[in-house]
């Protein structure tokens, strides 16, 4: 494990202990947030027959839920900034539960749109943001690993919910199933109750800041380059003037739009999300189109989910190593580009074996990207601005996430072949990947330069202060460095 960098959070995150319980809670919350909308598709056929509507009308339920989940991001961020993670997650759990129970008594399709789509979507948003935020408060050194483990919730919950939903549908019909799902999703409240706010007072760093600073020169090689402190330190100076923006800034940090790293992340992600979900959605239909039977096509999705499940904690672990952690943005860029390459090579697969190989590689790519998605944002903007950042990012990503699959579907309909859609998705992922590589190269250079300036200033002030300090303090700092 690389030695921890001191943070400007005002305290040292525990990096363990109750933090692992937080990871379990986040696992459940994130799992439900991502897997729940996808798993509801099993009920669509029955509901479609019951309400006598077309398939696209019923598919809107999923879209409205996803749209609400992303659009409610800023609301969630504001609430987390104000009240902390725990109450928001518990309210979110109650909201989704209420939505599902109300939907089970619905008499028109619009009831489903409102109850599952809007109320459910809001509830899931109230689960996702706080879960991600609280990991940043509990972990610093092991944060990539914690993020990777928490994000594994999504494929695991999906894997569990899919057969469970089928069983519920066969036993209770769609109404009873919605009622029981309302109960199951209430377990998000359990996850919320685990999210105890971190005890900042107990973990506050003691005020012996002067001697450690003076070892700035020696510690430079050993220390992890933490872009959190750098970017935060620098933009804070810029922000002293904009403190007067007051009202909005208290709720959500709009000044993030001036943050270099945040802008790079945002631009890349907006383009990337056009091609992110569509390949998953169309994997089974494309396989059937190539002549594979229905069960083997469904099995492809299971292979994909298993590969995804396995790679997420692994990516978290790799991201935590001392070689990757300082330059984790490059690892993320690699993951995005790898996705793109995977999709561009997909049309080469013609028989079932080729499709299986693609499913495995795509599962790895998808999982890698998902595990790092929020870790790199935390790395760029810092843990205490992360809540606002993720809120802004999700509402802006709302557009591409919703438009991606229908646009890809339109491509398939126009050309009558899936390969053009995969080429398009591949390009949509490869271009941001390369963009990230280039921009982060420049960003790291700028940050290193700025850090060099800060350290130079530090050394000067240190030399003045060092005459006042005694030697043993320095020696103790040296010993514990390695």
């Amino acid at each position: 494990m690389p030695p921890a960098a001191a943070t400007n959070l005002g305290y040292t995150p525990p990096d363990g202990g109750w933090g692992w319980a937080i990871v379990v809670g986040a696992f459940i919350s994130i799992g439900f947030s991502y897997a729940f909308p996808k798993s509801l598709t099993i009920y669509f056929k029955d509901i479609q027959e019951y309400f006598a509507v077309s398939y696209s009308e019923i598919a809107w339920v999923s879209s409205v839920m996803l749209a609400s989940m992303y659009a409610a991001g800023p609301v969630s961020s504001i609430l987390v900034n104000r009240y902390g993670s725990r109450p928001v997650v518990m309210v979110g759990g109650v909201l989704v539960s209420t939505g599902m129970v109300l939907a089970s008594f619905g008499t028109a399709i619009i009831h489903l749109y409102l109850c599952i789509g809007v109320i459910g979507g809001f509830g899931l948003a109230f689960n996702l943001q706080p879960a991600l935020t609280i990991i940043g408060t509990y972990f610093q050194v092991k944060r990539p690993l914690a993020n990777g483990l928490a994000m594994t919730g999504s494929p695991v919950v999906l894997f569990t919910l899919a057969p469970l939903n089928q069983f519920l549908l066969d036993s209770f019909g769609w109404r009873g199933s919605f009622l029981i799902l309302g109960g199951i999703v209430l377990n998000c409240c359990v996850a919320g109750s685990l999210m105890r706010p971190v005890n900042k007072k107990a973990l506050k760093k003691p005020e012996k800041t002067e001697p450690p600073e003076c070892n700035g020169g020696a510690a430079e090689e050993a220390a992890t380059v933490d872009t959190i402190t750098q970017s935060d330190n620098l933009t804070e100076e810029n922000q002293k003037e904009s403190k007067s923006q007051g009202c909005v800034n208290r709720f959500i940090d709009i000044s993030l739009f001036k943050h270099r790293g945040f802008l790079i992340y945002l631009i890349g992600n907006v383009v990337m999300f056009f091609g992110f979900f569509a390949p998953v959605v169309f994997l089974a239909p494309c396989a059937k189109h190539k002549g594979i039977d229905e069960y083997s096509a469904a099995f492809l999705l299971s292979i994909f989910a298993l590969a995804d499940m396995f790679i997420r904690p692994t990516t978290g672990f790799i991201g935590n190593t001392k070689w990757i952690r300082p330059r984790i943005q490059y690892f993320f860029s690699f993951a995005v580009s790898y996705n793109g390459v995977c999709h561009l090579l997909f049309p080469l697969a013609s028989e079932y074996t080729g499709l299986v190989v693609y499913a495995v590689f795509f599962g790895f790519a998808f999982g890698m990207l998902s595990a790092l998605l929020f870790e790199v944002l935390m790395d760029l903007v810092g843990a205490h601005r992360f809540s606002s950042a993720v809120g802004l990012v999700t509402i802006i990503e709302c557009g591409p996430v919703l438009l991606g699959p229908p646009l890809s579907g339109a491509l398939v309909d126009i050309f009558g072949d899936y390969k053009y859609m995969y080429y398009a998705c591949g390009v949509f992922m490869l271009v941001p990947g390369i963009f990230f590589f280039i921009m982060h190269y420049f960003n790291y250079r700028r940050l290193d330069k700025e850090r060099g300036q800060i350290v130079a200033v530090d050394v000067r002030t240190c030399e003045e202060a060092v005459e006042l300090k005694t030697n043993p303090d320095d020696k103790a700092a040296h010993d514990t460095d390695e």
Partner: protein, 308 residues
């Protein structure tokens, strides 16, 4: 006197003559008339013997003169004449024995059957030498895509059952619905009870809506695709349950959530009370949380502390 006798004899004679013309039709169990009726169209189906258990499907909609042709290349030592006959549903058809001659290195057995009604449908087999046979299953198109799991609905709610004839098969003339009543089927007439039943037919699809369900409505429902010759059936099960059924697991899960949340919060309250009473030991607590790393954290000096 002689005149009345003559009248009686004459009347008896008349009676006998008219009696001769009265035909009593005895129900004939199996065979269709082997003489074709010329007004019907002719449909020819051929099959060559490939192996044992060979079954050919013949889908018919309307009455036809069905000509079935079987060919067989024969054994190693081909005799010039062999016998062949036809069976229907396992029973030999009378007067169907023929002597087949070897022509162009194969034997050919053909027969024209009059398929006019439901009794004429079934399993026709051509048999060579009582060992080589090909089965022809003559039937109306069968409903393939049918739901095998029951439709679960609730008391007071409405249930929808659908049946569909695939696009690859011919369209039925109309659809009919039946409810199973013991071993019998009772036809459902939507017009008779419009509040309860509604049938929506749409060429290839049919939908049965049952409103205001009660427990008695549970059971098997049959949809029949009506063709001129016959009706092909498919069945779907409807299960009606009360709201208490899903409510029980739901309450169990809510109780579990409640218990877990209370337990976790109580555990936390008791730990924080312990922390408060142990006041000064707080620094020790942070050490026990992460022993090794914390010392490292306090000692490492990468970045200077900044006020946030």
């Amino acid at each position: 006197m002689l005149a009345s006798w003559k009248q009686l004899i004459f009347q008896i004679l008349l009676l006998l003559i008219s009696c001769r013309h009265i035909n009593t039709t005895s129900p004939d169990p199996t065979p269709p008339p082997l003489v074709p009726i010329d007004s019907l169209p002719r449909d020819v189906r051929r099959a060559a013997f490939k192996g044992e258990g060979q079954i050919e499907k013949v889908e018919l909609l309307n009455p036809v003169n069905l000509e079935l042709v079987c060919t067989w290349t024969g054994h190693q030592n081909k005799e010039s004449n062999i016998t062949g006959f036809w069976r229907k549903d396992g029973l030999e058809i009378e007067n169907s024995h023929l002597t087949v001659q070897l022509q162009n290195e194969q034997y050919q057995l053909q027969q024209v059957f009059n398929i006019v009604s439901e009794e004429n449908l079934g399993n026709y087999s051509c048999v060579f030498e009582s060992e080589v046979k090909i089965d022809f299953v003559v039937a109306v198109p069968q409903i393939g895509e049918i739901r095998d799991k029951p439709v679960v609905t609730y008391v007071g709610d409405s249930g929808v059952i659908t049946c569909k004839m695939e696009d690859s098969k011919p369209m039925p003339n109309t659809w009919k619905w039946y409810k199973a009543n013991g071993t019998d089927k009772e036809e459902i007439f939507a017009a008779a009870e419009p509040q309860r039943y509604e049938i929506k037919n749409n060429e290839r699809k049919t939908k049965l809506l049952v409103n205001n369900l009660t427990m008695a409505d549970s059971g098997l429902y049959y949809c029949g695709a009506v063709y001129t010759l016959s009706t092909s059936m498919g069945h779907v099960e409807l299960k009606v349950i009360t709201y208490y059924e899903p409510l029980k697991p739901f309450m169990a899960i809510v109780a579990e959530v409640f218990i877990l949340v209370t337990a976790i919060l109580l555990f936390e309250r008791s730990r924080s009370k312990k922390n408060d009473t142990e006041g000064d030991m707080m620094s020790d607590q942070t050490n026990t949380l992460s022993p090794g790393e914390n010392n490292g954290l306090e000692g490492s000096s990468s970045m200077r502390q900044r006020k946030t």
